[in-house]
Symmetry: C2
Subunit: 321 residues, 2 copies
């Protein structure tokens, strides 16, 4: 193993605090990690790529932000099942000429978020990349047996809710594209530059048995809602005016409806709930908004200023344009 990789592994080993030692029997340093998930629980697994040029650009995104968003992708999937994160794994391929400082800062961003969520980095793989930084984050989580909130268990008549505000991440990408990166301040676009996965809200909804189905908003509302509709064999009607839009930029302004409908990577939660359930206006300090209803009739409809039109899934574009 080349020295640079060895040094990186050593650094990760040292920087990972020995949290949740009871669930990570053996972390970095063997062929596999050994985990001990509580016997009352099911195990959750999710994997997500973060690729240079596809999910981030080095000239647009500080390394800490790339690291944070990388882990956010995985934690957000655990949140969407109502689960608790147990351990994270990182496969990381690095170009030969990448400054060590970049890697250090990337790991700082990732490990800072890991510490916030008390999730140990328990292993992964390190390789050389012939093209850009390539990261694959793997999250293992746990949820009481049979308790995972699926995409497939929504019913016609259920209301559709989202947490937080939408479109902020898409607006940030738009600003980065139009302006030089230096003029886009991270503090004006917090959801893009400093996303927080909604792990606690997901667990709250599961514990209170409020949600009939759930998904995280990584690909964009229109695409993610479509997944719920496909898996649950229902349709949906969304009220445009009800969709909570992010406030971004300087001077601060509300994002366009289209950014809120189709923009990805907000890492908020979309869930459905029976009309008989009382859903709070805020959960753990985060706004929760009803935006529409599931229908027996397939297909998604947007009602905007009294006009009904078909809502097409147009999310998950990343940097394609």
């Amino acid at each position: 193993m080349p020295l640079a990789e060895k040094a990186l592994i050593e650094r990760i080993r040292k920087s990972v605090k020995r949290v949740r030692a009871t669930q990570v029997v053996r972390g970095i340093g063997d062929d596999c990690a050994v985990l001990r998930v509580p016997r009352t629980d099911d195990t959750l697994v999710t994997t997500d790529f973060t690729l240079e040029g596809v999910h981030f650009r080095r000239k647009w995104h500080a390394p800490e932000i790339v690291g944070r968003r990388c882990l956010t992708r995985g934690l957000s999937d655990i949140a969407a099942m109502g689960g608790k994160p147990v351990a994270a794994f990182l496969s990381l391929a690095l170009p030969r000429n990448l400054p060590q400082r970049w890697v250090d800062r990337f790991m700082n961003g990732l490990l800072e978020l890991a510490a916030e969520f008390d999730v140990p980095l328990a292993g992964g793989d390190i390789a050389q990349s012939t093209a850009g930084v390539l990261a694959d984050i793997i999250l293992i989580g746990s949820v009481p047996k049979g308790g995972a909130i699926l995409r497939s268990s929504a019913r016609a008549g259920d209301l559709v809710y989202v947490t937080g505000e939408l479109g902020g991440a898409a607006a940030a990408l738009d600003a980065l594209r139009k302006r030089s990166a230096g003029k886009v301040r991270a503090s004006d676009y917090t959801r893009h530059f400093h996303p927080t996965p909604r792990v606690a809200i997901g667990q709250f909804l599961r514990l209170k048995k409020l949600a009939s189905a759930m998904i995280d908003l990584s690909d964009g509302l229109s695409t993610d809602l479509r997944h719920i509709c496909d898996e649950s064999r229902v349709g949906a009607t969304i009220t445009g005016a009800a969709v909570p839009r992010a406030i971004v930029g300087r001077p601060a302004r509300q994002v366009e409806l289209t950014a809120a409908l189709h923009g990805g990577e907000d890492y908020e939660l979309l869930f459905t709930a029976s009309k008989t359930k009382r859903i709070p206006d805020r959960i753990l300090g985060v706004r929760v908004t009803p935006i529409g209803e599931l229908t027996r009739r397939k297909g998604m409809v947007l009602v905007n200023d009294g006009v009904r039109c078909k809502l097409e899934p147009r999310g998950w574009e990343h940097f394609r344009h």
Copy 2:
């Protein structure tokens, strides 16, 4: 989601047989897969990159072989813990111009091996790559609680054993480098082109409580033995003449000792065992060879034709030269 990705996911969903349904509660199609590992077991997790230009070349390796070797990397890590595979996950990034046929054949190779080992592909991620085919294979396995065979539990005085023959994969790479790919027959270099992870042997060693420590030979004997030495805080003396060398090529010839000592990707097992244990000459039809002994004194020594010299870890080179 672009249509090509959607079609691929559908294809994977359909091609995955519903094996081990009791352990995969929910596979592809949700934010996370939901697994139910037996309550008597620990969970194993491993991740391994397979990157174009680093681990394979499209002009050298047929797509089925790339797919097979990709999954082999993960299964071999499970084998090295004495574990049983539960489910595989694949993060796959594909260049836009990649022929659909290549992806189909890649998946065929991967799924054929998955069927051999009765391991379902339960999820993953699909993304666009700006440079070559990028695959990250994640294997979840299980092993009775506390039963995983670690790298760190070897003792000075234990004997060192390897399964099969070594250096065959490195010899294949060497031939591919020197000759046009068309002149290197897969059937003359089976360990490179058609590797079989030693999952059953790993389980045998665990069940019979024969091995004190174990690792799979993915990076090369010298590097992987070094991992055992580092983690177990021992040294090792290896007898050069004892190292079983692969027979490859046409006309068939034994590989050089240096290929067997440092060549990676043979996916055989290296294990250590107390001298009090009787280790069979063959396990499940595969040759098992004692090649040396662990020592209290740190460092690795090679004894060759009566000459002692330092054995340096020089594996894990992939295509660097």
